[in-house]
Structure formats: C-alpha cells, structure tokens
Symmetry: C4
Subunit: 210 residues, 4 copies
C-alpha cells in the first residue's frame, strides 16, 4: 500500500504548491495600473509605497508558511480525509491573502483593513497548527522524524496564530498597535527559529532506520 | 509499455492539478476591491457577505471534486483519447466556477445566477461521473482497486449531477428553492460518504497482488 | 548523463503544463462580470453567447495542443538550447490565446479580431511543427518511438498552421470566410486523426527494446 | 538523508516553476481589452504595439532566467534556509515583472517606467547571482558539476545585474539611453553565451563519478 500513499502525499503537495505559487503571484494585483498623462506617472507610482510594503510583507508571510508546509509534508507518510480537509481550509485562507493585502495596501490606517488582514493570516496560522497537530497525533509522520514537525505544533508555536488573532480586538482600538504587534512577531521570529533549529540539531540523526 | 503510461497519467494529473489550483485561487476575484474614502470601507466590506459565503461554498465544491479526482486517478493505470477528452470537458466546466461564483455572490437571489451556477456544477458532476464510468468500463483502473472508484460511477453517485441539473428548472420557479436543494445535498453528503467508506472498508485488502 | 537529462525534460514539461493550465484557466476572463440592477442580468448574460462559443473553441484548441505536447514530450529523451527556445516561443503564442479569445468573443464579426486570433493560433501551430521537427531531425526522440512523433511534423501536419495563416489574408476580405476555414479544419480533424492513428497501430510494437 | 534532500530540491523547483509559469502568463494582462464600437478596434489594437514589444521582451527575459534556474538547480544537491530565502526574494522580483512590463508598455518614454522596469529586472539579476554564488560557496552543488553553475556566479556574470542597475541613474537623464543599454546587453548576450558554452564543452566529462 506504500507506493499509492506516497503518490497521494505527492499530489497533495503538488496541488498545494500550485495554490501557493498562484496566491503569491497574485500579490502583484496589489499594484494599481497607472493611467492618465505621463506627468502624473511619478506621483501615481510613489503613492503606491504602502502597497509595496504590504507586498513584501505578504510575500514573506506566504513564503514562510510555504517553507513550513514544505518541511512538514516532506516527512508525512500518509494522508487521511481529515488531513486533506485541514489542508483545504488552510488553503482557503491562504488564497484570501492577496485580497486582504490589497485592502491593507490601500487603507493601511483603518481598523477594517487591519482586522481583515489579521483574520486571514490568523486563519492560516491556526489551521497550519491544527493540521500539523493532527498529523502528529494520528501518527501520519515518519516516526523517526517527528522531531522535525513537533516544533510547529507545540505550545510555543501557538504564539503565531495567537498574536494575529489577538491583534483583531486590538485593531478595533488602534490599527497601528495591531501592526506593531505583527512587527514584534516578525522581529522575534528569527530568534525563536534559531533556538528551535538548535534543538533539532542536538537530536541525533536517525536516518539509517529509514 | 508500462512506464510510459504511468508517465502519461502523471502528466494528466499534474495538468489537472494546475487547473484546479488556479480555478480555486481565482475564486478570490469574487471579492470587489473597495474604493472611495476610509469611512465607506466597513460598509463596502460587510456588503460582500454573500460573496464570502459563495467563496467558501465553491472552495468546498472544487475541493471535493479535486479529492475525488485524486482518489480515482491514483488507481488509473492507463489513458485513452476518450479519457483525455472527458477530462478536458470536465475541466472546461471547473474553470467556469470562479465566474459563476462571482455572479452568484453578486446576484444571489436571481434565477439567472442560480441557473448559471447549477449548470456549471452540474456539468462538472456529470462529466466526473461519465469519466469515471468510462475508466471503469474500459478497464483503465487497476483491477484489484476497482472498488475504490466504483462508488463514484454507480447509480447512487448520480444523485450529485441529478440534484444540480434538477435545480435548473426549479431555479426558474424559485431561486431560493434551488439553493435549498444544494444545501440538502451538502448536508446529506457526509452521511452518504460514511456509508460508502464503510463499504470500502468491508472489502478485503488485495494490495498484495499489486 | 541520462538521469540529469530526464530531469530536464521533466522540468520543461512541468513548466509547460503550468503555462497551459494558467492559459486555459484565464480563458474565463473572457466573460464580463455583470453589473447593474437584477433586471438587466439575464440580458447581460445572454449577450455573452459569442464569448461562450469562443471559450469552448479556445479550450478545445489549447487542449488539443496540450495533448500533442504531452504525446511528443513523453518520448523526448534529451533537450538542447534550441528545443528550449522553440518551446518558449511556442508558449509565448499560447499565452496570447486568452486575450485574442476575449477580443474574438467581443468583436466576432470584425477583420481585426479574426486576424488577431488566426495569428496567435497560427503562431502556436507553426512553432509546434518546428519544435517537433527539430526534435526529430536532431535525434532527441527515442529512436524506437519516432513513429509516434513523426505525424505531427510531417507534410500533412502543415495543414494546421497553413489553414490558420492562410485565414489571415482571407479575414481581410471576409471575417466569416476565415471562421468557416477554421470550422472546416475542426470537422476534418477527427477524420485525419483516425487515419494517422491507424498508421500508428499498424506499426509493430518495439517497446521491448526500451 | 539523501532522498529527503532531493525531494526538497524537487519541491523548491516545482514551486519556482509554478511562480515562473504564472508570472510569464500574467504578461498577457499587459494588453488592454478593447472596448467601444467596431470601427475603433483596429486603432485600439495597433496602439498597443509598444505593449506587444514589451510583452516579447519580458517573455524573453523571464524565459532566460528560468533556463538559468533550470540548469543550476538540476545540479543542486541540497538546500539550506539561506538558499530558500534567496530563492524567495528572487521570486518576489520575478513576480513584479508583469506589472513593470505593463507600465513600460503604456509609458515607454518616461523615466519612471524605465527606472521601475530596470529595478525589477536588476533585482532578479542580482539575487540570481547571489543565490548561485551562495550555492557554490556553501558547496550545495554536485562537486563534479560545479563548472556548469560557475559561469552564472562569476565576475563576468555581474554584467547582467550591473547593466540593469546602472541603467537606473541613466534613465533619470534619458529613458531612451537606458533602453539602448538593455538592447546592447541583449545583442551581446548570445556572443557571451557562446564563449561560456565553449568553456563548458572544453571541460572533460566527469559524469561517470556520479
């Protein structure tokens, strides 16, 4: 039964990569095509500075989730319907990111844009956590590789969905404060990753058993 | 001749995944980019509530068809021109879904939007059934795996295209009644799936012969 | 050196499939999103009847070229830069099809739309022929499989680009006459394919040597 | 550990191919859909001549970068986080090309459009160089294949990002001069490639050691 299962994981991954590739490319619709005479072009382009910022932010966010998906599904050895389902709901939120990025780029200082953006990223982060948690508890991960996926479904990893979901009520009081919460998370992230990686590298290699 | 045939199925599947990934991602064009002053943003976003509903509905529908395609083509062992043709017509209807979803999101209480949506989904469901039927009758499925594909091309599976196609004339009388038919199908679906799966699990495993 | 070459063909094929999948899915932009009151919806949708026709025509055309690419590259055993180049120019014309389809759907009885459409399809057909010709003459095809690719680069296969390119001057006189030329080609095509296939099936199987 | 690493490179390549395929296909949004009466169609289409030129230019540029990526990653044997990161930033610039192409097509004689286009291509070229440089210095390339990747990260290869980045200040003085710099690069490129290839072919084959 092994081969068929590998094929299935392969196809899930291929489909997911397709959705990620399109979602990340659609971020470009974020920019408004200039129109009007040449003399207004400079003005119209420089006005899109917040959109460029939002573009690189969302590119980094989608890219980071893709890297996590990549790492975890490299060691998933089989699928069940629930895992397929989690992956689809997860993708449904990923696909919303280009739209919420566009709104954030155009209305960066409003509660609505901030809440919408936080809800989409929070949804991705939540289902990312649940999906990996499910794969671990249902034993869909290669036993000798569990340590590679565990950090993404542990208590510390709840910080990511936690900060985004917590920034929703904060955004109702102050959009700027919510954006600062995201920035803090982004700054803290490399530090946390370094620690997590150190943990992985301390683990003895067990590849021989594969 | 085996290897080349596997390659061919692999490429059909990769192409189909690409089309599915793009169609599911294009559902996001469903949302209208807000414009105008900040004060109107909340209003413009909350007005898109039916579009959000239509988005998740179509995401679930496309996702479900993708899962069925995934399951069936994992056990297809060879292609003929007719199967390629069925798959292309099937995809031609899948690709229409983002457009019909957009119209449904904007005009959810009209006969036209309901009929258009039912026709697109009905087309996908019909060709899904015909395609799997063809693969089974022409013996393109691995013999020891036929039980995995058979439920999708049996009489009971005609319920899916049947309900959607039947909702077209109903939609001319009452759009709401047609939408309720879809809802009933969605509610009944997990029950029917559970029964079908029970059937599969009762079947003895025959993988050793592979 | 074999493995690396197979990998390269695999990636060319994956990239090409991606472009085809997106081009075929973008055909849906062909349809104009309705706007305005509910009462005008029926009118706005039925007005798009020529666009629906153009959609299915282009879906069939792109699908057919994809099937040919699929068949030929399944037996390509190595690439050179010229083959990569032919494939890229070929794709540059494929990518134009959604746009030319849109123009044809909106302006179906004008010389401009017909000429534009014929030029794009003629470009695809021409480079399709040149690309397969190149693969055959430079010996990039598996020797025992040449008969599978040869019909697409023979004299008879020049009919496809020939008819489309010839319809360009015809379109300047009568757009309708050009469209009838395409229809005649589409009607004649299954007959020609049947004969070509008969030819292939007469050829003895030589797979054992692989 | 080998197999998992190959899988990872495979998935990076698949994702990258997806992004390239979509970016190259989105170039078609470059063309404005005609509107208005039939009599204005010819005028509206011929007015898009610079857009067609920009389309083929960008198709060639994206295609060329894809070929380089294809060649280099065929011999990458493992990934680290930095290489993933370089690849993502590189893709972030690739994705900008359809937008910058559109602006260049519409405003080809302005400083703004030329600078924007040069910045995007310059960014791709710079990160292309850095990424391959990193792969070589960190020993991620198959040792017996280094000569295949080395020309893309050597001093001579700095000409590509150099000319594009240098054309940014030039564009502020004269947009036309900047465009001529790109043309000169394009004309010189086949000559330089021939020399580089000659170098590769002089290198003795070492494939046996693989």
């Amino acid at each position: 039964m092994d081969e068929r299962e590998i094929l299935s994981v392969g196809r899930l991954v291929a489909f997911t990569d397709g959705v990620f590739a399109i979602a990340i490319t659609l971020l470009v619709v974020n920019f408004d095509e200039p129109s009007g005479p040449d003399s207004e072009l400079a003005h119209q382009l420089t006005d899109q500075w917040p959109a460029l910022l939002a573009y690189f932010l969302s590119f980094a966010v989608i890219g980071r989730f893709w890297v996590v998906h990549h790492r975890v599904f490299a060691i998933v050895r089989r699928l069940d319907f629930a895992l397929l389902g989690f992956n689809l709901v997860y993708l449904a939120f990923v696909v919303l990111i280009p739209f919420t990025t566009e709104v954030l780029g155009d209305y960066s200082d409003t509660t609505e844009a901030v809440v919408l953006y936080a809800a989409a990223i929070g949804g991705v982060a939540t289902f990312n956590w649940l999906m990996i948690r499910h794969a671990l508890t249902r034993d869909h991960i290669q036993p000798d590789r569990r340590f590679s996926a565990a950090p993404f479904a542990g208590t510390a990893a709840l910080v990511n969905p936690g900060v985004f979901l917590a920034s929703i009520p904060v955004g109702f009081v102050s959009p700027l404060a919510a954006e600062l919460m995201w920035t803090a998370l982004a700054i803290a992230w490399p530090l946390r990753r370094r620690r997590a990686l150190a943990g992985v590298q301390r683990t003895p290699r067990q590849d021989a058993s594969r």
